[in-house]
């Protein structure tokens, strides 16, 4: 019962904040609401007894991605400039696409048979995760690493000051 209440709380937090992200006129506030939404999701992970995922969620999504978004807002926009128009001429088309996507997602979520395992979470799931990444999934892991490296190099090349 208590868990359910907490679940509702976190869900409301995530969903409400997510709504605020898209409805807010101030882009900086939107980014902050995104942080709240992500924190709500992290709370859900904690409820699912996946604290590692929760912490990683906070570390990467809140700590890195949201901060980068905030940072980018501060860098690219005219400082102290608050709100901006939220729509352009194509809002109608994108609304149709979004609604369509929503319907597809709802239908697929309703139709998929979700497997439920009735055992406890293994004690050493962290070790398992690490071993799996290094043994079974080493190729995707490495491919991701190379991709990120390429992105990093690309970013540096673009941002680099041409001195000579």
């Amino acid at each position: 019962m208590v868990l359910q209440a907490v679940f509702m709380l976190f869900s409301a937090m995530a969903v409400g904040a997510a709504l605020a992200v898209v409805t807010n006129k101030n882009i900086f506030h939107s980014a902050l609401f995104l942080v709240v939404a992500l924190l709500g999701v992290a709370g859900l992970y904690v409820l699912l007894e996946a604290p590692f995922i929760a912490v990683v969620q906070v570390l990467i999504y809140v700590g890195a991605i949201s901060t980068l978004i905030l940072f980018a807002i501060m860098l690219t926009r005219r400082l102290m400039d608050a709100s901006e128009r939220q729509r352009n001429e194509q809002w109608f088309i994108s609304a149709i696409v979004a609604v369509g996507l929503f319907i597809v997602l709802v239908l697929s979520v309703g139709q998929v048979h979700w497997p439920v395992v009735h055992t406890d979470v293994p004690e050493n799931h962290l070790n398992r995760l690490g071993q799996d990444l290094m043994e079974h999934y080493v190729l995707p892991f490495e491919v991701t690493a190379v991709l990120l490296l390429a992105a990093l190099v690309g970013a540096i090349v673009i941002a680099r000051e041409r001195t000579r």
Binding site: P51, V62, G63, A64, L70, M74
Partner: protein, 397 residues
């Protein structure tokens, strides 16, 4: 005697037992949880108040002054006077501020500063919650601080604040990476991310002996994360006046001030736990209450070191700071992690004695330091060859 030897823990358990007699067990658990939170927060607030005094006194002594000595004996009541002043002061708020963000930022900063203490073991059996990913938790909380700093910098509607916020983000991002990597080698050796388990694993030997480089990297990055000199550029007084909290006054400013000192304490506490054996020390097994004394002594030692550094060194420039992080600390921490992994694995394979393993760690660390010194020296030579490092010969006329 047995009761006294572990006074705090036993007292705690006794209270819990008493409560249990007339409360349902979940209520007891809840009450004790809140009590623990209150105890930790109160302890931290008092610590912060007197850390400010300690810092002023130490800095004063280093600068050949006396320091605060008017309020109370040896100025001991100075922090109380300061706190009162900050509480009574008017909360100014700039008209152009982003008001909700501006008001929220101090609360977020203070919360983020207090949160790590949920998992930090102060002594044997004295930990809020022994999470098995405690280290990661502490690191991830520090990213909340970044958000709060950005909020403060932006919310004030002040360009100094925005600049300070941007500096803070650049700095905290850069230093989080080597920081996490240096903790990685600790996790590798102890086989756990739980702060309690890491402390227990250092019963025989502090990890600083096996991981001197990781310790140094951690300490530098920790100082940068906590915005301590010489890495205090986000709030550089002589450049950005106060950086991201330039527009704050009164209680709201006090929150930032408090968070800053708590962060310094957190960094020292984490360094103590990860590398200096946490609460481990002689006779801890027999007299567990000593553990908290050992822990605090080590933490205060590191705090003193940070204050000392602040009173002695100029601050770096932001680009130099990022250079240090990306070009020196990050490769160093990465190589250290690699070497630690290899040495650990090889030592386990060939069944080296633990003393020898330590020796090998020492040797590998020395080699690493040598390599870094060599690389730095070569780049220095190259710069000098290009005429960038002049000789500064005084001519007399």
């Amino acid at each position: 005697m047995a009761f006294l030897s572990d006074l705090l823990v036993n007292l705690w358990n006794w209270i819990a037992v008493q409560l249990d007699q007339f409360l349902p067990s979940w209520a007891t658990a809840l009450v004790m949880l809140f009590a623990a939170a209150v105890v930790i927060v109160v302890f931290l607030l008092l610590t912060v108040m007197f850390l400010t005094l300690l810092e002023r006194k130490v800095v004063a002594r280093i600068a050949d002054r006396i320091g605060p000595n008017r309020v109370g004996p040896f100025g001991l009541l100075q922090p109380i006077a300061d706190t009162l002043k900050l509480i009574i002061k008017e909360n100014t708020e700039p008209a152009k501020a982003d008001h909700p963000v501006f008001r929220l930022a101090p609360a977020v900063v203070a919360t983020a500063a207090l949160m790590p203490y949920a998992v930090i073991p102060f002594g044997r059996g004295m930990v809020g919650s022994d999470v098995n990913i405690g280290v990661l938790y502490v690191i991830s909380i520090s990213s909340l601080t970044v958000i709060a700093v950005l909020m403060a910098g932006w919310g004030g509607g002040n360009k100094y604040g925005v600049l300070g916020g941007m500096r803070a983000v650049a700095q905290m991002f850069s230093f989080e990476v080597p920081l996490a990597l240096s903790i990685g080698s600790v996790a590798l050796l102890t086989g756990s991310l739980s702060l309690v388990a890491i402390t227990e694993a250092q019963r025989k030997l502090w990890l600083i002996v096996a991981q001197p480089i990781a310790f140094l990297v951690y300490l530098l990055c920790g100082a940068a994360e906590a915005n301590r000199a010489p890495f205090d550029i986000p709030e550089a007084e002589s450049e950005l006046v106060a950086g991201y909290h330039v527009e704050y006054s009164g209680v709201r400013f006090a929150f930032f001030y408090m968070a800053e000192y708590i962060n310094m304490f957190t960094t020292s506490a984490m360094a103590t736990i990860l590398f200096l054996g946490g609460w481990q020390g002689p006779f801890v097994e027999r007299v567990p209450i000593l553990s908290i004394a050992y822990f605090l002594a080590k933490v205060y030692g590191l705090v003193f070191l940070m204050i000392w550094v602040r009173a002695t060194f100029p601050r770096l420039r932001i680009d130099q700071l990022l250079d240090l992080s990306w070009k020196v600390l990050l490769p160093l921490a990465l190589m250290n992690l690699l070497v630690t992994a290899v040495v650990d694995k090889v030592a386990a394979q060939v069944r080296l004695s633990s003393t020898l393993t330590i020796g090998v760690f020492w040797g590998s660390n020395l080699v690493l330091v040598g390599v870094v010194a060599l690389v730095l020296y070569l780049s220095y030579r190259r710069k000098r060859a290009r005429g960038l490092n002049p000789h500064y010969q005084i001519h007399w006329h």
